[in-house]
Symmetry: C2
Subunit: 364 residues, 2 copies
């Protein structure tokens, strides 16, 4: 199959770039003796989870039980569910997963730990637990110090749970350039003093799991971190490039679109909007744009409805006609992948693979 | 099945409210002798398309060939594809649809008309065409006057196409209150003088199709309009309520979520973010929020990631615990429906129906 036969809109994965991205992260992890447990929310495809394992990952990360169920097909030996699982029926499904792969759950409350312990006891299946710590994002996670110690003690007291360590998500650090160096140092201080405090309290986490895509290649600078869970790095996207963590040339995923209207002078309408790209923004609110046109970087994708993308082409330096096909690097590839039934793995003009996005829409 | 057995996050449809919304629009259309051809992009469920037909709609509208294929199961006699269809393989699929229902296509270029005519000739299947006009949104559509006349003449010259009329989408009119009265008057003038011009040129469209959900109940005030294509009205959402076109009590769709973390004082994290709600905003950019908590209107849903919703509950006037279940009216129900595999039709605490969202993700 050739690129020209693909109906638009469609996500294309440049396989050479993707393989380079996988290799680079695996080599970095090996070099710095970091366990690599990639977050599969970015691709949601078991075959790509398999590739991550084959290229050196020790396990895989998911956000939901439904994603864990799908990702079993990757034959990963180890699955981290990096999300508190609340409610009986989800926990019962999780225990089914735990019969086929080693399962670890990250959580931040005694309620979640107790529910997990009850389910594990009923299923007679031991579950590993990471205590989630907030290191600055202000989302989930307890505060380092007394709160963290209390959570760990609660986990340790509960039957069928084994406390394995800590995890955190440094999502508040958005840049990867020189200017983020200070933030990385501050993170390292926070984590270092947290670990020292735990040691004084007689608690020694085996796993200290951190690492987002923007901070990926700085992970060895954070005291005590021995595991990383990057997601976006497999494809990269416009946000990753804007953070300085990759170049546009490292972006493996583009969205192929067709020009469907040129009725308004200076504007083209493309057949992808919020149902194709998601409405995740980039840039300051007032000047938000929705993607980077690889072949026309001056085209401004400034507005979208569900099925329509509005592109200002007054400064694009070329003409466009109805039927033209263009490739766009999306702001945020994870949410875009979730909108597509299948994606196309290409080399040059050749479609080498068609993958079904099996983890798409697994909300529960 | 009871509401308490549903795993979150999940979309709930209050059937009493939905049926009232359907009835109200059908009665309005009958009263003013307007043809009702609802846009099914809001629900994407053939069974609900069927209900719309049974409650008085003359046909259904879709945005994509993939949606048309799905919506055939509603047994609608008539399908409007309100989007220019570009490219051979999509047009071949459209011709297959046209063997099972009468198909009309809205388009705004001679290129799109010619491609459609070629496909219709090959399939020996006549296709009705609406010429798309821009009445102020600045998206698709030619300008009234010479451009419109040229498009109509191009359609009329092409074999296997029959020119049926005009369509437009007044998406630039966001309000439904008194302050939008002037905009409706201006729209009526635009459409009226456009129709007068066409008449002088010897062109008389049979169908003049307009109408969004916010302008729905003002459609009879627009000169010459004889068809409406509202979508959101079946459920309504926070944007519809904010436009003054309905009250929160008319919102049939809510998203059921669970509190998964209360680790940070004054904040709860719910198990729905951009993968559950979409990241479509509401309000001015700086103060964007993502949903209305029916049971806690002072809770502020101010930020989201893919699987996490951040809710500021400092002024909510109640306490929240991990495991609490809450119902949220989303900003934009159409994009949220597109993210869910199935939705639950409820009356009170009872789940009466579970629908698969069969048109979900039909991007091509």
């Amino acid at each position: 199959m050739n690129l020209s036969e693909i109906e638009t809109p469609a996500i294309l994965i440049d396989l050479d770039r993707m393989e380079r991205n996988l290799r680079r992260a695996a080599e970095y992890a090996r070099e710095h003796d970091l366990r690599l447990r990639p977050h599969t929310k970015t691709h949601k495809i078991p075959a790509l989870g398999r590739r991550q394992i084959e290229s050196g990952a020790a396990g895989l990360t998911v956000a939901k039980v439904g994603e864990a169920e799908v990702m079993l097909a990757s034959e990963t030996p180890d699955l981290l569910v990096a999300y508190p699982i609340i409610g009986r029926s989800k926990l019962e499904r999780l225990m089914q997963v735990a019969r086929r792969a080693r399962v670890t759950v990250a959580l931040d409350s005694a309620v979640a730990a107790r529910q997990l312990s009850d389910a594990a006891r009923e299923a007679q299946t031991a579950i590993a637990v990471l205590a989630e710590v907030d290191v600055g994002l202000g989302r989930v996670g307890v505060r380092p110090g007394e709160e963290l110690e209390a959570l760990i003690r609660a986990i340790e007291r509960l039957p069928w749970l084994s406390f394995e360590g800590l995890d955190f998500y440094p999502g508040h650090i958005r840049g990867a350039g020189e200017d983020s160096r200070q933030e990385i140092e501050k993170l390292s201080e926070t984590v270092g003093s947290m670990l020292a405090g735990l040691k004084r309290a007689g608690l020694e986490p085996k796993i200290v799991s951190g690492g987002s895509t923007p901070t990926l290649f700085h992970s060895h600078l954070v005291a005590g971190v021995n595991e990383i869970r990057p997601g976006t790095y497999i494809f990269n996207d416009r946000n990753t490039a804007a953070a300085g963590a990759c170049s546009f040339g490292d972006c493996a995923a583009t969205i192929l679109v067709t020009v469907v209207s040129t009725a308004r002078p200076g504007q083209i309408i493309i057949d992808g909007g919020s149902k194709t790209f998601s409405s995740d923004r980039h840039g300051a609110a007032g000047e938000a744009t929705f993607g980077h046109f690889a072949g026309a970087p001056e085209a401004v994708f400034h507005k979208m409805n569900e099925e329509h993308g509005y592109v200002d082409v007054r400064r694009a330096g070329r003409d466009f006609s109805v039927g033209d096909r263009l490739r766009v690097i999306p702001n945020h590839i994870c949410v875009a992948m979730n909108l597509h039934e299948r994606v196309y793995g290409i080399r040059g003009e050749t479609v080498e693979t068609v993958w079904t996005v099996e983890g798409r829409g697994k909300l529960q």
